[in-house]
């Protein structure tokens, strides 16, 4: 298990936190940028940097739209991002719980 490397896009504290927070949204839901920022307690610039990296990997989708006259930026985890997060979590869990004892001996 340890020779399969963990997904480097998610395996950084800040992006792991972003992904974990976005994973609580229902599929098909988006959250406004300021609200996400508030939940994570990150600066706008910092969050943007990490969101761009996640977007480049195809894990996050960023939509710019308007609510009335105010521009709104909405953030969501893509299905691919959700799968990547689930696989990442499963891989980390597997590291913690060596399932096959015979293999270890």
């Amino acid at each position: 298990m340890s020779d399969a490397p963990l997904d480097p896009v998610i395996h950084a504290q800040a992006r792991l936190r972003v992904t974990a927070a976005l994973s609580t949204l229902g599929s098909g839901d988006r959250i406004t940028f300021p609200r996400l920022q508030e939940i994570l307690g990150m600066t706008a610039g910092n969050l943007s940097v990490h969101l761009r990296k996640l977007e480049d990997a195809g894990y996050v989708e960023i939509t710019k739209t308007h609510r009335g006259r105010t521009p709104v930026t909405l953030v969501a985890l893509t299905p691919r991002g959700r799968v990547a997060f689930e696989e990442y979590t499963a891989a980390v869990r597997a590291l913690l719980q060596p399932t096959d004892i015979t293999e270890a001996t």
């Binding site: 395996h11 839901d29 909405l74 980390v92």
Partner: protein
């Protein structure tokens, strides 16, 4: 310089698998706490509105025309309506808080559901206002209560179907049963039944639903 340090720090992987899992759990829990709304905020305003409003109705318009407490005739209905409107305002605010910063399926589901309540209650208010003008006071109270409580039960069952929320569906069934029991028991008793079983039921439900969601949250994380 400082900024650069922070970014470097955040690029660093978490220290070991245990630390990673702890970070995920913490972040998910923090996000849930901020996005999700405590169920008591949904149900208690309505529960207390029914509890107090129907209690006053029972005390003023008891079974067989008895008057337990000689309140002004207009008071019980006025208090009930005022409390229901207040509960509606609290629900609208809660909904905005829950869904205002979200967009997409959940927000749309919440908005449609909110509108379903508003539209159907305005509709029955117009119809009943027209019909009950020609009925006795006793019968008018009975029909108003039975129709609104019945609609509330139906909308709760629909909510259970929309969100696949079992306790919400069960609450709808409970309210529907309470409603029929109240009508069968007759004028006066109906108010008492709506007060205790309906209003009290919703208050209890608020506590149960909050627990159910927490438990499901844990299960989903453990899965």
């Amino acid at each position: 310089m400082h900024d650069r340090f922070t970014v470097d720090e955040e690029e660093r992987p978490p220290a070991g698998p245990a630390e990673t899992l702890r970070l995920i759990e913490e972040q998910r829990a923090a996000a849930m706490r901020q996005i999700r709304v405590d169920d008591r905020l949904w149900y208690w305003p309505w529960g207390f509105a029914w509890l107090i409003g129907f209690a006053l109705l029972f005390l003023r318009y008891g079974p067989d025309g008895r008057v337990f407490v000689d309140l002004p005739e207009w008071l019980p209905v006025a208090v009930l309506v005022a409390l229901l409107i207040a509960a509606g305002v609290v629900s609208a605010m809660t909904g905005t808080r829950a869904y205002g910063q979200l967009s997409g399926d959940s927000a749309r589901r919440g908005a449609y559901y909110g509108w379903a309540w508003t539209v159907s209650f305005v509709a029955i208010a117009v119809i009943l206002g027209k019909v009950t003008a020609s009925l006795s006071h006793e019968l008018a109270i009975m029909i108003w209560a039975a129709t609104s409580v019945g609609l509330t039960g139906a909308l709760h069952m629909a909510g259970g179907a929309i969100w696949l929320n079992r306790p919400l569906f069960q609450l709808g069934v409970w309210i529907s049963v309470v409603n029929v029991a109240g009508v069968l028991a007759g004028p006066g008793w109906q108010s008492l039944i709506n007060c205790v079983a309906g209003g009290g039921g919703m208050i209890v439900f608020g506590v149960v639903a909050a627990r159910w969601k927490r438990r499901r949250g844990h299960e989903r994380r453990a899965a």
